[in-house]
């Protein structure tokens, strides 16, 4: 075979050389930034975390994408460094690159994100509340918070490339963080109050069933029951996910080799790998790798038709609310801030830092739940929570800065 067939790309070596003028080089993760940018422009009903999850689940060509290249395109040499993928795409990286790209391409203001858009917090919160098996009634609360701090405004949500003054919005993380804040508003989540409220609700539910056999109206939402049901499912799914990570296959049938010289070696190795995989695959006992399930938007689903009471969508918050001056407020009078002072994002790259041991376990649990659903670190959600809290309690914070970390609402 002539060398020209396996010379790889003409400029592969140049491409990888550090070039200070052009910081934006096309990479595999960058292709996802492009995709996300396009999806955002089109306002498609898909979030970045979903996109990345589909990539990892193999529904979107990414890993070993060169398999699908036309025959004539033969990768070798330094092309391998560009096209072979050996790590899952990282949310932050794809997100940041997308914004750089939009600015680089000098794109105008993106199509507006309005209340009826999928990416609007009101919509996303609805989806995530469902997935988290939380009462629909909580949606009123997320909407209220959105309104109060102005994050539902078109100008806040719409991307203007190159505008360094506006904060870049992570729609999915924002919606998740909103739900966390609402849960803190209503249940405090200090490892005590939420269980106390739950006992109270349990009592009420028992009385109700005893007193009126045909009681209509939704049961009181019991935090404890919800926690048990959701934790169980979460643990099962997390365990599955962890095993999938360990069983993840990175290579494909088509081997990659640097040069003609090591082609035969690589092919031989590949053959041995396939043989061994067959040998031990037969001893696995499992019925081989099942067909990939279709991509699904919901990872956890709860059905109201289940009679075991494991679906909380229709449950009521009446036990934890009260009316004051014609307005429904939470019975919970307290709130604890995740952090009194936000970090300087430009200095350390983050608004806040998360250490599990420093926070209540209930708080950690809800972070873990959304961390699983969005496939991102709990600390990202924690950061957004801090950001929302600081907007929400802005006035009070300006007054009492350093000393109080527990506020009365």
């Amino acid at each position: 075979e002539s060398t020209s067939v396996y010379s790889g790309s003409v400029d592969g070596s140049l491409y990888l050389m550090k070039n200070q003028k052009e910081k934006l080089r096309m990479t595999m993760p960058m292709t996802l930034s492009f995709c996300y940018m396009a999806l955002l422009w089109l306002r498609e009903p898909i979030t970045l975390s979903e996109l990345l999850r589909f990539v990892v689940e193999g529904h979107i060509p990414y890993l070993n994408v060169f398999q699908h290249f036309p025959e004539k395109m033969k990768l070798c040499g330094l092309d391998l460094k560009i096209f072979s993928v050996e790590s899952w795409p990282v949310y932050e990286e794809v997100f940041n690159k997308m914004h750089e790209l939009a600015a680089f391409l000098d794109l105008p203001r993106f199509p507006e994100i309005t209340e009826s858009c999928f990416l609007h917090p009101d919509m996303l919160c609805m989806k995530y509340l469902m997935e988290a098996n939380l009462p629909d009634e909580l949606h009123n609360w997320t909407c209220r918070v959105v309104k109060k701090i102005g994050i539902g405004e078109v100008d806040f949500l719409t991307l203007v490339p190159g505008n360094k003054s506006t904060r870049k919005v992570k729609y999915d993380v924002l919606a998740a963080a909103l739900i966390v804040v609402v849960l803190k508003l209503l249940f405090l989540l200090d490892d005590h109050y939420e269980w106390f409220l739950s006992e109270f609700a349990e009592e009420r539910n028992k009385n109700d069933t005893e007193v009126c056999i045909f009681f209509s109206g939704a049961p009181y939402f019991e935090f404890k029951k919800w926690y048990e049901v959701v934790k169980h499912s979460l643990d099962v799914e997390q365990k599955k996910l962890d095993e999938e990570r360990a069983k993840y296959l990175w290579r494909c049938e088509k081997p990659l080799f640097y040069s003609v010289k090591n082609k035969s070696k690589v092919v031989k190795r590949r053959q041995m790998v396939v043989n061994l995989q067959n040998q031990f695959g037969k001893l696995s006992g499992s019925v081989g790798r099942a067909e990939k399930p279709n991509p699904s938007s919901f990872q956890l689903s709860w059905s109201e038709e289940n009679t075991d009471g494991s679906c909380f969508h229709g449950h009521s918050l009446k036990g934890i609310l009260q009316e004051k001056c014609g307005l429904l407020t939470a019975m919970n009078p307290d709130y604890w801030l995740c952090t009194v002072k936000l970090c300087n994002e430009k200095l350390c790259g983050h608004l806040a830092h998360y250490k599990e041991v420093e926070f209540p376990q209930s708080y950690h649990f809800v972070l873990r739940l959304f961390s699983f659903l969005l496939r991102i670190q709990p600390s990202y959600i924690h950061e957004e929570v801090c950001m929302i809290e600081h907007k929400l309690f802005n006035k009070k914070l300006c007054k009492k800065l350093k000393y109080n970390s527990v506020l009365r609402k």
């Binding site: 962890d242 360990a246 006992g285 961390s371």
Partner: protein, 412 residues
């Protein structure tokens, strides 16, 4: 489980290995195979930089799984081993040797022998010299299998001899196995190490062909050469050889003395004490007492009636002669604080009486002498023995009562 959502090749393979490890530890072979299947692609990223790279991992894990998995056959196992041999030339001989061990465990002696011969003929540039140690081992094990064949032929010959047949062919084969075995066994035991099995076989060969001098030299080297690691068995083998040869008590004693120094709890200590007690030399008898006391310091000897009878006999003999009570005093001095609870508790008295009357007899005698007639062990046993109207217990009681003042002098 980690909530880490960043994942790369290395981390996922690390996670895979930890799942494999868990499955292996719980003997879940199917599950281990499932995860190993996913790990195998690491071979394509084997840069031989790590101490134990992917190919070695796969070899070790795969060997374990194939060895234990119910659906795996020996044929599959051998096929896998052959593949593994091609993966790492630096470990080639080691893998060959391990394969041979597995074949031997499975009873496939002939196949093991073939593999050993094949491995012996392997040459690979400078690797041959580097893997010299493994080569010696391979030759040694072939020698061992040759010994095994020799042994079989010898038995056939002996059978035929009984029947009155003489079989020249068998005899010649036997001699040829001997020559092959001897050459290799001799080589390996030259290298400092623990070669118990090889030494025993070699000595067996030498003894059969009447080369007792060589046998003695080999055993002496094995036991006394300081370059070799301290090995109690070496002294045992030497002692057994000397005994077979009918050597003098003196040489037997010197062989066992070292054994006593290294392993005071060795089972041969009974023989040793018996030998020493009978000696005319005072020093030897003194040593005998030391030896038997030392052996009984160990929990494994607590219920050994023979050992106790040795001690009882010697103690009784010293008490009767009224000479050398200071020997007992010295031995008892370091033991009087803990032997009572260790050997002579009331609970043990009851148990010993129930389970082994001879044991309780011997022990009671010793207890009575060392702790006096008021000690609970002696009191209980002698009472039970007299109640059961057993003569020897009555006599023992009388003996202890008569010599009671002795205990005061001992414990003084």
């Amino acid at each position: 489980s980690s909530h880490e959502h960043k994942l790369n090749f290395r981390k996922s393979k690390e996670a895979c290995l930890s799942y494999i490890q868990d499955a292996l530890l719980q003997k879940q072979w199917k599950r281990a195979a499932e995860f190993l299947t996913c790990y195998i692609e690491s071979l394509e990223k084997d840069y031989s930089r790590e101490h134990i790279g992917p190919s070695e991992m796969i070899r070790r894990i795969g060997t374990e799984i194939l060895w234990h998995h119910s659906q795996s056959s020996m044929k599959e196992f051998s096929c896998f081993m052959e593949q593994m041999k091609t993966l790492g030339v630096k470990r080639y001989l080691k893998v060959c040797l391990e394969h041979v061990f597995h074949l031997l465990c499975n009873g496939q002696i002939d196949e093991a022998y073939q593999n050993l011969s094949l491995a012996e003929s392997w040459r690979f540039g400078e690797q041959t010299a580097i893997q010299d140690k493994e080569m010696k081992l391979i030759q040694a094990y072939r020698g061992l299998l040759d010994y095994y064949s020799w042994s079989k032929q010898k038995n056939i010959l002996l059978e035929h001899g009984e029947d009155g047949f003489s079989d020249l062919a068998v005899e010649q084969e036997m001699h040829s196995y001997f020559r092959k075995a001897a050459v290799n066994l001799k080589e390996i035991i030259k290298i400092p190490g623990v070669w118990d099995l090889f030494v025993k076989c070699y000595v067996d060969l030498l003894e059969f062909y009447g080369d007792h001098n060589e046998a003695r030299q080999v055993l002496n080297e094995y036991a006394y050469n300081s370059k070799f690691p301290a090995n109690p068995n070496a002294h045992v083998y030497l002692y057994q050889f000397l005994k077979r040869q009918g050597e003098s008590k003196k040489s037997l004693v010197s062989a066992l003395k070292i054994l006593h120094d290294i392993v005071p709890s060795h089972e041969l200590m009974i023989d040793f004490n018996t030998m020493l007690q009978k000696s005319k030399k005072r020093k030897k008898r003194r040593l005998g007492l030391e030896v038997i006391f030392a052996a009984l310091d160990y929990a494994g000897w607590k219920e050994n009636a023979k050992a106790w009878s040795c001690l009882a006999r010697q103690v009784k003999q010293i008490v009767i002669s009224d000479k050398h009570l200071d020997w007992i005093k010295k031995e008892w001095n370091s033991r009087k604080d803990w032997w009572p609870a260790f050997h002579f508790s009331r609970y043990l008295a009851k148990r010993n009486w129930q389970e082994n009357k001879s044991l309780s007899y011997e022990k009671a005698l010793v207890a009575g002498i060392l702790l006096g007639k008021d000690c609970k062990y002696f009191k209980y046993i002698s009472h039970q023995g007299c109640k059961a109207q057993l003569k020897r217990f009555r006599m023992m009681k009388r003996f202890v009562n008569r010599h009671n003042p002795v205990y005061l002098r001992i414990s003084g």
